[in-house]
Symmetry: C2
Subunit: 196 residues, 2 copies
DNA sequence: TCCATTCTTGAATATGAATTCAAGAAAATT
DNA sequence: AATTTTCTTGAATTCATATTCAAGAATGGA
């Protein structure tokens, strides 16, 4: 059958995600991608076609792992309110200390590509819709539990929270203080209808 | 004295702003910049040094005109509440029809450059601080007028509104509906403490 | 009118990054 | 073990685009 591939495709994608995340699509040179993944150009091109193809796969990998993590956190607690609080608490920590200092790969890419690339554009819409649905679900649970008034429109509130998250993703790049981030999420909570 | 320059520096900057705004820094080719401004490469380089220099000046021109417009709108009405409402109403229109479909040049650039360029980074912080101050002023006026409770923290509320605007700037690129944009600004109003 | 200076022009060049490719190495099948 | 197939390597190439430059044109002063 011939020589077997001796690198792990998923591990390579995870490394590539970091480069695109930190530097952006244009800012990420094949040279650095090769350094970080430990691959040579030839192997990258054989496995992924070209830089654009690598990026699409890296983006999908990022989206999948983020969706998974977000949904898990929102549902980690029977209380919808606590789920949303946990989600934002984790976001803030990552923005202060973790990779979220680089913003969010989806947000960064929406801005960098506008909606010029139909393939990427579709993936964005899907990802944002997924986040929105997960938030909406948590809001509905909060309503059921009496943590929130029955006449809150869950869909609208979810869109608003998605917008807040996008805003945080931008501000994260300006190295904001914990105080600033917490003030923002506190206001978002109020906006949805949760009591302080 | 020699030949006099026969183009208007400010007009050139305004055209350049549009190219950077729509395409981003990397996406804006000198070729297109020359086409749009009507200049030749040589003239651009003589006047602005290089692409980076042109960008910095274009960004400053954008920031100045946006600050001016925003502050004017926020103060266009004696009521702080009405000023903020006008500001968001105008933003929504521009996101549906106008150049804000391309997002905001500041937001786009914050994301594209992260905080790698100190010169640009400083300009960002200043611009965001200006917006924050203007919003905070309107909120204070609303408090004075009894449109808002005295114990609203104007500084925190202003930071929150800046975040919302950044989020809108991102979502604008996904071609959102009027309903979506209005739902978001309605929630932001609530979050600050205005009655529906 | 002529000169000195500065601007304009657009083709030529330089630069940097993506991509290819030919040779070598490893695995599996016979 | 030989053979075939596929992967790996990294230097060479291609390609795109920022930048330069030499020649021409317009202005103000002498």
């Amino acid at each position: 059958m011939g020589r077997i591939r001796n690198f792990d495709r998923d591990a390579v994608l995870e490394s590539a995600v970091d480069v695109f995340w930190e530097r952006g699509y244009d800012g990420a040179g094949m040279q650095e991608i090769c350094r970080v993944t430990g691959l040579n150009p030839g192997s990258v091109y054989a496995a992924f076609g070209d830089k654009h193809g690598l990026f699409i796969e890296a983006l999908k990998s990022y989206m999948a792992s983020m969706s998974r993590e977000t949904i898990a956190r929102l549902n980690s607690n029977p209380s919808g309110r606590a789920g949303i609080a946990d989600y934002y608490a984790a976001l803030i920590e990552a923005m202060l200390d973790g990779k979220r200092r680089w913003g969010c790969l989806v947000t960064n890419s929406i801005v960098e590509f506008a909606m010029n690339d139909p393939q990427i554009s579709e993936a964005f819409q899907l990802h944002l819709a997924r986040l929105e649905t997960a938030l909406s679900g948590a809001i509905e649970r909060a309503k059921q539990a009496g943590e929130l008034s029955r006449d809150v429109d869950a869909a609208e509130a979810a869109v608003f929270l998605v917008c807040t998250t996008q805003g945080l993703n931008v501000l994260a790049k300006t190295r904001p203080s914990r105080r600033t981030l917490e003030a923002i999420t506190r206001h978002a909570f109020t906006a949805v209808g949760f009591k302080a």
